[in-house]
């Protein structure tokens, strides 16, 4: 397939991105970061050659974007991710109850509980950073402060990406995104920082993490304590013969809680609710992985 050879670094990267279309977003970001660093090194090594000359040589030594894309696709299958994909489809014997033996369920639960803390921190950091950036804008230190703040958001996004990959199993970039070169003028840096859609989507993610974190935490804590509490209370009532659980608003249910069959039913309902909570945790894990992938990964 004759594609015109790229003559500039951005053109090469754009072709590589096109060739990787459909691959996991994290893989694309990794490949682009590797490639950009290599091309930058190549340019630094040969300062007397023009960008076009270097790119011609690069296609010969580094490979065409299509070849590189294929290498990354091949390698992705062999890389050990935090949760290796099972080779064969898992047994479906227990269907609904399989969720209890899936490590991803528990890591999603941990993420839900953790997200309250990280959510509060991200939100505070972002709000303070934005307000200080805006209020300092009239002073000479306003611009460097805003740049520093955006840099901190990039680092935070990367850290959050690592957490998401480890706990939710979504492929995220394994390297920090390449920023503008250090020798560029401050105005170029500002323009790049403000025109980069990812800066804004990362900020949005950081702010969003507070309500999401609170919701995840509440769902996790309430779900687990309610389901486990009902089960444990019913079993305790069955064993000791005295039930301490009361539902004063519903006399019929309250009566059930003081009979053995009723307690058994409640114990089973509690177990069922526990599995429903595990399923909800998995679904939240999947959904949040999509959110993080959409907002944090720069393409």
């Amino acid at each position: 397939m004759p594609v015109s050879a790229p003559e500039t670094v951005p053109a090469y990267l754009a072709q590589l991105r096109r060739a990787l279309k459909g691959a996991p977003a994290g893989l694309i970001a990794d490949a682009l970061a590797d490639c950009e660093d290599h091309l930058n090194s190549e340019m630094a090594q040969n300062p007397d050659l023009s960008e076009t000359q270097i790119l011609v040589a690069v296609v010969e030594t580094y490979g065409t974007p299509e070849e590189i894309a294929q290498e990354y696709r091949d390698m992705e299958h062999t890389i050990t991710t935090p949760f290796p994909q099972p080779e064969s489809t898992p047994e479906r014997r227990f269907g609904f109850f399989n969720v209890v033996s899936d490590p991803r369920t528990y890591s999603a639960l941990i993420y839900m509980l953790l997200s309250l803390a990280t959510g509060i921190f991200y939100f505070t950091w972002t709000v303070v950073g934005i307000s200080l950036s805006i209020s300092l804008a009239v002073l000479i230190i306003g611009v460097p402060f805003a740049l520093l703040f955006i840099a901190s958001i990039r680092v935070l996004s990367h850290v959050e990406g690592r957490i998401v990959e480890a706990l939710l199993g979504v492929r995220m970039p394994r390297r920090l995104p390449a920023g503008p070169a250090a020798d560029e003028s401050i105005w170029t840096k500002i323009r790049e920082a403000f025109t980069d859609i990812r800066t804004w989507s990362s900020l949005l993610y950081m702010l969003l993490m507070l309500p999401l974190g609170i919701a995840y935490f509440i769902i996790g804590v309430v779900g687990l304590s309610l389901s486990l509490g009902v089960t444990a209370g019913s079993l305790y009532g069955l064993v000791t013969g005295e039930s301490h659980m009361q539902i004063t608003d519903a006399p019929v249910l309250n009566h059930l809680l003081h009979t053995a069959p009723g307690l058994i039913v409640f114990a089973l309902l509690g177990v069922l609710a526990f599995f429903v909570v595990l399923h909800i945790a998995r679904l939240i894990g999947l959904a949040h992985g999509k959110i993080a992938e959409g907002l944090l990964v720069r393409l």
């Binding site: 490949a31 490639c35 660093d37 930058n40 580094y62 490979g63 390698m75 920023g179 070169a181």
Partner: protein, 134 residues
Amino acid sequence: MTDETAYTRKFRKELMAGLSSLVLLAVLARAGREMYGYEIAKAVKAEGEGGLIFKQGAIYPVLRSLNATGLLHSRVEASAFGPPRRYYDITDEGRKALAEWQFAWRDMREFVDDALSAGAVPPGTQGGHAGVGA
């Protein structure tokens, strides 16, 4: 490259699939210090005539995979502005794997050389690729 058939390119690629890990481990073990991708690419190119068979771009995914399996250790030198760079270093496990793989490779090479020199190449054709048995 262009005068090779598609079969040959595919054959080279398959040969290289496992060997590239061996070559990269060897390069890092001999260097005895941490190196970043571009440095490693240059070192591999200097390995000999075969250097160009191996596209430099293919090094990076292999490094990543070796890192994921624990044979290499990596460290990112991060800067908020300016391209961050990942430095790779061989681990003890990597050195162990390298020793074993070298053994496996010598075994394999002897086996292939034997097979090739034992009449696989008909006399008279003087196959240039038959190699010289050790």
